[in-house]
């Protein structure tokens, strides 16, 4: 085994895979504790109403039932707070752990049944009688606001951002292009449903949550605060996670309930969500309606954008507060120079399942909106869609490009990028001009075929800081302990590769520990495409320190200078291939043991801690091109060609980057064509199984040509890394809409996602008749 194989830039196999392909993973449903109880939630079957009575007697009488709780049993618990701390204005809209006097969406937890067996818990839950006096639901966020509770409207806040003189720009414009656009309600829908196990270890006075994901350390802080415990007395454990996508790992009522029940009932409490529950209780996302207009000059240069959008938050404000709407405001301008900008995001509560983040939150939506606008500007001025984009792109020479906007509480500073360079590469790679000719020719012959393009800026590497600890044991095994989290993205492999490169060991000798609050004090997990950027850079710092310490110790033992030594494949030896004695890292670790006489004045252990701090996020960017063909008889969309060009700054493992881009696109395709949480006029959810909420299958996902560019390394971190996790999905809705619209003649008919076969068929029929 030679070391270079495992270094940065190599598509090495993942460290994660062996247990996962042999059925030895530890997903939350696979974990069990002796004497555990099973929890089942009784949920509201009304979208909006007043609870007039709850009768739990019949449920309590079922043999095997240990307890049935309603809000009265947990009246001492506060509502679930925001991750970033209290926000006074939004506090009245937080979700109680169990509904008190009102229910506000179908699926809202009303009672919890605890039983010896999950089947018994489910039987008993069916016997809990809840009487509700139904109220009219609010279902359209863009209509007039209603009442959330006495004194509180369903519009808690309007998210406003902007700069410049928008009104003057519109007054001076040669043309104004105005659109009314909508994105449907969809979400991450991981294949593994949520789950949580609460366990109270009375011997150590530690409360444990198993099945944690995404942000275990942040959730520990929230839980400790909520339950009045020290963070040292609350520990979260992340096992395998069957897909995160923003949805999994947030704090939900069920997480609180298993913990409180574990303490009060004195037994471990396990809860595994079923699929129907997931579709009505886990965070939904995306639904927005934008009324957007652009002021442009005669050359197609955008002078100003003015956007009013309505963000459908659902019934309560969950842990993210207003983040998705805020980010929508901050990121909407994308890769374009935009002199004047005004956006008002109406943050509205409705009687639907609460919303929060889903992979590329705020970007999937606004990329669709902004790119529809770019296509519309091109159509209005008779310019090509490529040309109108090109004329508005921020130039490489303008980097770093500061925008007086905020996203995720961070000032938007586009750190590096050559947007036009990537556009040119993408156009050359896909043969754009030839595609344009072909498509025009086929359309003239009567085919519904279209070519679409989308450009977008992603964000990644949310700081401000991350730390890791590295320890090498006497066998030479390297343990990297991080506060990062793994949600299936290949985190362990990527972190091991970075450590391997810096330290000079084979990546397979590295064990990456993550998602465990009992192993490291701080961590901000895996969200916002931050894990690779932040944790890898912290790993680089810590591994550098370990290397220096190893060389220092080795220099004494080999009677030479540290500068003459290097570590290759876990062995310290003389640089430049000079022969002579060598020492393994394991041997050096032995010499650094506390009791070792050779250690001298050095601190014990071949170990170090490393921290990485960043001021700003880093911004990767992409271009997507699609060719679609529509079956005019059924409205079905066939993607004939798909290309994604994405600049990640520096790819640590290109195969995994590709996997992120392809997998993300496939997910985004679902939201573009099929996926939608629909509700009837009484607020009853209609999309509660995989038979009526359609995920893309292997037949729906096209072959995708991926161009990974490394032309613009991040200016924000020493490794130059930008994240890839959301790069595939972010532009998917935009490019598919552009291509379908082109297939219908480029008339701007595609104004909402998803473009389901039914809607498309109706559009085709209507345009055939007109």
């Amino acid at each position: 085994m030679t070391a270079p194989k495992s270094q940065i830039g190599a598509s090495v196999p993942r460290l994660e895979d062996a247990p996962l392909v042999t059925g030895r993973g530890a997903f939350v449903g696979d974990i069990a504790f002796v004497h555990q109880l099973h929890m089942r939630i009784v949920r509201s079957s009304y979208a909006h109403g007043i609870i007039t009575a709850i009768d739990t007697a019949a449920a309590q009488a079922v043999p095997g039932v240990v307890a049935v709780w309603t809000y009265k049993d947990i009246a001492d618990l506060p509502p679930i707070d925001f991750r970033e701390g209290s926000i006074e204005k939004l506090s009245p809209f937080r979700q109680p752990v169990l509904a008190t006097d009102r229910v506000r969406y179908v699926g809202e937890p009303i009672a919890a049944v605890f039983a010896e067996d999950p089947y018994v818990a489910e039987d008993a839950a069916d016997l809990v009688m809840v009487e509700v006096e139904e109220l009219a639901p609010v279902l359209d966020a863009a209509e007039a606001a209603g009442e959330f509770s006495p004194g509180h409207s369903t519009e808690p806040v309007i998210c406003r951002q902007g700069y410049g003189d928008v009104d003057a720009a519109f007054a001076a414009a040669d043309a104004v292009v105005e659109l009314d656009l909508a994105i449907g309600r969809h979400s991450g829908v991981p294949l593994e449903t949520r789950g949580a196990i609460g366990r109270y270890d009375a011997a150590r006075d530690v409360l444990e949550l198993h099945g944690a994901a995404k942000v275990p350390h942040r959730n520990r802080e929230s839980l400790a605060k909520m339950l009045g415990r020290s963070t040292a007395a609350v520990h979260l454990y992340e096992g395998h996670v069957g897909g995160g996508f923003g949805v999994r790992g947030e704090l939900y009522p069920e997480d609180i309930l298993v913990l409180v029940a574990a303490m009060r009932l004195g037994r471990p409490v396990k809860w595994i969500e079923d699929r129907r529950e997931h579709m009505i209780a886990a965070n939904q996302s995306r639904q927005q309606r934008h009324r957007i207009r652009a002021a442009v000059d005669r050359d197609g240069r955008i002078l100003a954008i003015d956007d009013d959008f309505y963000h459908d938050q659902g019934a309560y404000i969950r842990t993210h507060g207003t983040r998705v709407a805020d980010m929508s405001c901050g990121i909407l301008p994308g890769p374009y120079r935009l002199p004047h900008y005004r956006v008002n995001g109406h943050f509205r509560l409705t009687n639907k399942t609460p919303a929060a983040t889903y992979r590329a939150p705020g970007r999937y939506e606004t990329n669709f909106v902004r790119e529809r606008l770019m296509d519309a500007i091109a159509a209005r001025l008779g310019l090509s869609r490529v040309e109108v984009r090109r004329r508005n792109l921020i130039a490489a020479s303008e980097m770093p490009f500061e925008r007086p906007l905020m996203a995720l509480g961070d000032e938007v500073v586009l750190d590096s990028g050559d947007y036009e360079g990537l556009l040119d590469k993408a156009l050359a790679r896909c043969g754009w001009e030839e595609l344009e000719r072909e498509v025009a020719h086929r359309r003239a012959a009567g085919e519904y075929v279209g070519l679409g393009i989308a450009m977008y800026v992603e964000k990644s590497g949310l700081g401000p800081v991350d730390g890791v600890r590295i320890n090498v044991d006497a066998t030479g095994t390297v343990e990297v302990i991080t506060g990062g989290a793994s949600i299936g993205q290949g985190f362990e492999t990527v972190i091991a590769q970075v450590c391997a490169e810096t330290l000079g060991v084979d990546y397979r000798r590295i064990r990456v520990v993550h998602g465990r609050t009992d192993r490291i004090e701080y961590g901000i997990g895996a969200h916002a495409t931050r894990a690779t950027v932040m944790t890898a850079n912290a790993t680089h710092v810590a591994a550098g320190k370990v290397k220096a310490k190893a060389l220092d110790m080795a220099a004494q033992l080999l009677q030479t200078e540290a500068a003459r030594l290097d570590i290759v494949d876990g062995e310290v030896r003389l640089r430049d291939g000079a022969g002579g004695p060598s020492l393994s890292l394991g041997e050096i670790a032995q010499h650094l043991r506390p009791v070792s006489p050779t250690r001298g004045e050095r601190d014990p252990g071949l170990a170090a801690e490393g921290w990485f701090t960043t001021k700003h996020m880093t911004y990767p960017y992409g271009v997507q091109v699609a060719v679609v063909k529509i079956d005019d008889g059924t409205g079905a969309v066939l993607i004939e060609k798909m290309m994604i060009a994405f600049d990640v700054g520096r790819a640590i493992n290109p195969a995994l980057v590709r996997g992120q881009l392809v997998g993300g696109f496939a997910q985004g395709l679902g939201g573009a064509l099929f996926e939608e949480f629909q509700y009837d006029e009484r607020g009853q959810p209609l999309s509660v199984t995989f038979a009526d909420y359609l995920l893309p299958t292997v037949k729906d996902v096209p072959e995708i040509d991926i161009l990974i560019a490394e032309d613009a390394p991040s200016a924000c971190n020493p490794l130059g890394i930008k994240g890839a996790g959301e790069g595939g999905i972010a532009g998917a809705g935009a490019v598919i809409a552009s291509a379908i619209d082109d297939a219908l003649g480029g008339k701007g008919l595609i104004t909402r996602l998803p473009v389901t076969p039914q809607r498309l068929k109706a559009l085709i029929d209507a345009s055939a008749h007109s």
Binding site: Q489, T689, V698, I704
Partner: protein
């Protein structure tokens, strides 16, 4: 609640004697009563295929059967796919082709493909895509799953040629 019945299930060649309610699904019994948690539950209504196992060599959804229906049948789960320490060609190919991310759907895809390749080693690409369209994956976009199964098909074919001169 109903009375339990005693049944014997043969999973990966080993017999498990368990007492279960007749209404208990095969998937739950495999996982919770027999401790073979590699078979996953993604939807419990037969759509996602994460719970796919082989029953007498045929791929079935273990969430759509009762355990009592599987008595005297030969059950193979993902834990039984490898041959001692040697991974099945499909398992190796899934690793080599990065055909999994979170890995939750993986056991279902492995069993689905294993059953099909066992039955028809010459399955063509079109049939293969048809077959794989019966399971859902939310991470990979399927591209690498298809590649991995194709690679395993080739390897298994080559291996069988070697054995049968």
């Amino acid at each position: 609640m109903t009375d339990k019945v005693e049944i014997a299930l043969t999973i990966n060649g080993r017999t498990h004697r368990v007492a279960v309610e007749p209404r208990r699904t095969l998937a739950d019994v495999i996982r919770d009563d027999c401790g073979q948690t590699g078979t996953h539950l993604g939807c419990e209504h037969g759509v996602c295929g994460a719970c796919t196992i082989l029953l007498d060599g045929e791929a079935v959804r273990s969430c759509l059967m009762f355990a009592v229906q599987a008595q005297n049948r030969d059950i193979c789960t993902v834990e039984g796919l490898q041959n001692g320490p040697e991974l099945h060609p499909l398992q190796k190919a899934f690793i080599a082709h990065h055909a999994l991310q979170c890995g939750f759907c993986t056991p279902g895809f492995l069993m689905l493909a294993a059953g099909a390749l066992e039955r028809n080693p010459d399955i063509d690409d079109e049939e293969l895509v048809d077959l794989l369209s019966s399971n859902l994956c939310r991470c990979t976009g399927y591209e690498n799953i298809v590649k991995a199964v194709q690679a395993a098909r080739a390897e298994m074919k080559a291996a069988s040629m070697k054995v049968a001169p």
